[in-house]
Symmetry: C2
Subunit: 223 residues, 2 copies
Amino acid sequence: MTNRTDDEYPEAPSDRTHVKRYHWLARYDQETVKAILDATPLAHVGCMMNGVPFVTPTFFWREGDRVYWHGSSAGRLFKALEHQDICLTVSLLDGLVIARSAYNFNCNFRSVMLLGRAELISDEAVKAEKLRNFVDGLIPGEWERLRPVHAKEIEATAVASLSIAEASCKVRTGPPLDDEEDYAFPSWAGVIPIRYQVLPPEPDPRNLPDVPMPEDILKFRLG
Amino acid sequence: MTNRTDDEYPEAPSDRTHVKRYHWLARYDQETVKAILDATPLAHVGCMMNGVPFVTPTFFWREGDRVYWHGSSAGRLFKALEHQDICLTVSLLDGLVIARSAYNFNCNFRSVMLLGRAELISDEAVKAEKLRNFVDGLIPGEWERLRPVHAKEIEATAVASLSIAEASCKVRTGPPLDDEEDYAFPSWAGVIPIRYQVLPPEPDPRNLPDVPMPEDILKFRLG
């Protein structure tokens, strides 16, 4: 299933990030971690609440060696996540891999799993700066074009951050990998590529007539 | 932020599925639950392992009032999930919503969160039947075209299922919703639609020369 010998497998940053299932797809280098984190704003955060490991989809962004995400200061997620280790997972589906046997069906994908203790930002000015980075990371220069933020809006917003040090990635690319004897079996095999498509922006019907769309809006990308 | 009064909000199937954040986007009806589950094969499963709420991306499928997913019989996830309540979340990102203020930035999305105790299927024949439904659900008739499954492959595969009864959905569509006074602010607002794109299939270079691509391969859809 792989061309690497056991000695060639990279080392995980911790025992609990050590990938066991499909371990030949594992990567732990920070370059791969950052590339996957930067490819999409969508993450899924795992956090124990009321005895259940809730999985919450959320937008996030990266600055240096930390990821950030925001929500309501009054929300139960942000109250719960300071008191436990959490998991933040980012995954991108890149294709359906059609093999010659059901057992070797697969998908092409990129995923990263971050583990650790999140920190909440309490300084209001720092929160505002982080939110600006989030907005400008989606659309360059957008923060300056918006109605200036109110202090009560920053107060109502919680911003959490998590180190990207304790991370594991899985990356699968390429054609199916069948059992050698199955390559003689007469079944069509291949990959159906999947990607995100960003469509042309749809203006709000309530836009003012003399406000053109900034060209930066067209710079939004994901995938 | 909504046109509904409190009396008009639908009722959650349990206290722990009751949506509090952006509760005006919540839906609990099984029709919406099924529509979201049927739109993508990608889920994120939350399960406590080694004291951390791990979030694992996985393919899944729905049959009636249950969802199913598979993995390795030897894997730690499938050993852990029978002994605790878990969460299975499915989310689809439909657009970036650009408002006139950072506070009202949003995304259009569909998500469903299922809570409950998963069950592992132990009967090998039932497992094989479920895996057939999974493969044929992705590409109609594909199971029959594949190299027949080996008993040891079924044994090595774990199949879990979870009821969709304890579910909550969130759905956001449409243009930004700004504070009424902000509609006079001269900032461009609108939606950048996002969707999955399925690209033309790429044949495996090792395909046999006389095996054409079945037309059913083109029926794979998601989104």
